[in-house]
Amino acid sequence: MSSDIVTIVSTWYGAETAGGAEHAARQLALALSARGVPVEVWSTTARDLVAPTTAYYPEGTSWDAGIKVVRYAVEALAPDAQFPHYVNQFDTLMRIIRECAPSAQELRTVARLAYSSDLLRAIAQHQAGRRFLFVPYPLPSSVFGSMLAPTRSYLLPCMHDEPYAYHALTRWQMRNARTILANSASERDFIVSQYDIPAERVALTRLGIELGVTGDGARFRHHYDIHGTMLFFAGRRDASKNMPLLMLYVQEYMIRRQRMLTLVLSGRDPLTLSRYQQRFIRDIGFVDEQTKADAFAACDVFVHAGTQESFAFVLMEAWLQQRPVLVNAECAVTTAATHESGGGLSFRDFPSFATALDILLATPTLATHMGVAGRAYVLANCQWQDVAARADVAIRGNA
C-alpha cells in the first residue's frame, strides 16, 4: 500500500478544456480524489488543443473542484523547429534520445508539440513521494516526463493505431513505464502487441462518464429549430475524426434516397460551412453538458466515422440517452463496443453506411432497442467509482 501522491501530468487540463484525453484526466482525478486517494495535477497554462500554446489559465497553484492544480508556463514553439532544443538542459533526456535514435521526422514532429520546460524541470526535481500518471502519451510532457522519472511513471496513453504510436521515443516510454492504463480491450491488445510487453503491465481500467445527465430531445429540437431526421456527432470536426468522409456519405445518402437529413455537429474547433453545406449541416459549436445531452436525446442516430479512438466518450454519452450509434468498422475500439453492447451498427463503406441508416431510420423499435442495450452497457461498464478503484490498484496497488 502506497501513500504517494498520484500526480496527474496533462499538458492541458481544466473544466473549460476540450479533448477526450483531457476530459478523462480530469474525471479520473475527481474520481480518485472522491475515493480518498491523494491527487494533484501538474499542467501548463494553455487550455487545449484548439490553442495549444496560448496561455489561458494563470501560472501557479490553483484549486479545481477540491484538487490542487499546479500550472507551469507553456512556451511558444519555434517555427520550423527540427529538434526539441529544450531537452538539452536535461542530460537524462539527451542520453535516452541518443539511445532511441529517433528519425529526423520524429524529432521534427515532437519539436512542434506544446511543452513547458518548467513542468519538465519540476518532474525531474520533485519526484519523491509521487507517482506520475501521464495523460495522454504523445505530448512532450508525457514522453519526456516519463523519461525523467521512469520508476515513478504510469501512463494513461489514450492510444490508437496512429503515427505517434510508431515513434522510437514512444516505444521507450511504453516499455519503461511501471504500468499502462488501457481504456478498452482493443487498446490494451494493441499496446501489448505493438511494444511486445507483458500483458500484466497493461491494466484494463476503462473510463467512465457522468451518468446522472438526462437529455431532453424535444427541448433541443425546439431551441435549434430542427425538424425531421437528425444525425448527430460531437467532437473535433476535422480529418482526424473522418469528418470529410462523413459529410460525403451523408450527402450521397440524401441524393440517392432523395431525402433530406440534418447532420448536427458539436465541437470547439472552427467550422466553415458553405451555403450548400448549411442546407443539411448544423454547427452548434461547443455547448454545455446539458445541451449536449439534449442533442444526444434529440438525434435519430449518433454517427461516428472516426477510426482513431481509444475509448470514445461520445459513444457512451449517446447510449446513456438511449440512442443507437453508427460507427466506422475500421475503428477496433468503437466497433468492439458497439458489437459488445448491441447498441448500433457499423459501416465499412458507403453501401453499408447507407443501408445501416435505412435500417435504423425505418425501424424505430429496433433503434430504440439498440439504444436501451447501449445504455445497459454504459451503466455496467462506465461507473467512475469502478474506474477509480481499478486505476488505484494499477497505480498504487490498493484494492
Binding site: D80, G228, R256, Y276, G342, L345, D358, I359, T363
Partner: protein, 235 residues
C-alpha cells in the same frame, strides 16, 4: 519566376461547367445532347494540362556576341539562384497538378453520377428485421447497394492534396548533410535576405491566387452536388 506567377486559370473551365450545369437545370428532358458542351470542357482541360507545368529552366538563346555574353551571365545567375527559385516553382507545380486532377475528376464525377431518381415507394428494409437478424439483413442490403463513384471518392482525397499544396513557401530550413553545407547555407541565407523584397511579394500573390482557386473549386463542387439534392427541406 515570372512564369510561376501565372498559375492555372480555371475560369474557362468553370465557365464551361456552369454553362453545362445551366443546360441541365433548364431541361428536364430524359435525353439532351450535350456532347458539344462536353467537348468544350475537355478542350479547356487539355489546355490546362498543356500549361500546368511551370519551368524555371527555359532555354536561353542568343546569337550575337553581346547576346552570348548576356546569356552566359543569365545562366550563371540562374545557376546561383536555382536552390531558391526551383523549390518555389516545384511547390506551385504540385498545386497545379492537384488542381488539374481535381478538374478532371469534377467532370468525370458529373458524367458518372446518375440523375437522382425519385425515392422508392416502399422501404428496402424488411418488416422482419430485429436485433437477432439485423446484421445479416444489413450485410445483404449492403451487398445490393451500389458503391460510391470512384470519382466522387477521388474528389474527397484531392481536397486534402490541394490543401496540402496550396501554400507555397519561400522560406524553408536549409539542410545540412556535410560540413561544407554550413558555408553554402550562409551564402544562401544572404541571397535570400537580399532577394526577399522581390521574391516574397510574388509568392504572396501566388498564394492569394491559390487560396481563391481552392475556394472556387470547393464551391463549384458544392454547387454541382446541390443540384442533386432533394428540393424538399424536411420530411
Amino acid at each position: 519566376m515570372t512564369q510561376s506567377a501565372q498559375p492555372i486559370d480555371v475560369a474557362a473551365v468553370v465557365d464551361a461547367l456552369h454553362a453545362r450545369i445551366a443546360q441541365h437545370a433548364s431541361t428536364n428532358a430524359a435525353h439532351t445532347d450535350t456532347s458539344a458542351e462536353l467537348y468544350d470542357v475537355y478542350d479547356a482541360l487539355h489546355e490546362m494540362e498543356l500549361t500546368r507545368v511551370i519551368s524555371a529552366h527555359l532555354p536561353i538563346v542568343n546569337t550575337t556576341v553581346g547576346g552570348r555574353v548576356i546569356g552566359l551571365l543569365q545562366k550563371v545567375t540562374r545557376r546561383l539562384l536555382r536552390w531558391y527559385i526551383n523549390p518555389i516553382v516545384e511547390q506551385q507545380n504540385m498545386y497545379n497538378d492537384a488542381v488539374m486532377r481535381t478538374m478532371r475528376e469534377i467532370v468525370a464525377a458529373y458524367e458518372a453520377n446518375p440523375r437522382p431518381q425519385p425515392p422508392a415507394s416502399t422501404s428496402p428494409v424488411p418488416d422482419t428485421v430485429d436485433s437477432h437478424n439485423v446484421h445479416t439483413i444489413h450485410a445483404t442490403l449492403a451487398d445490393n447497394e451500389p458503391p460510391i463513384s470512384a470519382h466522387t471518392t477521388a474528389l474527397l482525397a484531392l481536397e486534402t492534396v490541394r490543401a496540402t499544396h496550396q501554400t507555397v513557401h519561400a522560406h524553408w530550413p536549409l539542410p545540412v548533410h556535410q560540413p561544407l553545407d554550413h558555408v553554402a547555407n550562409g551564402i544562401h541565407k544572404l541571397q535570400r535576405m537580399l532577394l526577399r523584397w522581390y521574391i516574397n511579394p510574388i509568392v504572396e500573390q501566388i498564394n492569394a491566387h491559390n487560396r481563391a482557386t481552392q475556394r472556387a473549386i470547393q464551391l463549384l463542387i458544392h454547387y454541382i452536388t446541390a443540384k442533386r439534392l432533394p428540393a424538399k427541406r424536411h420530411e
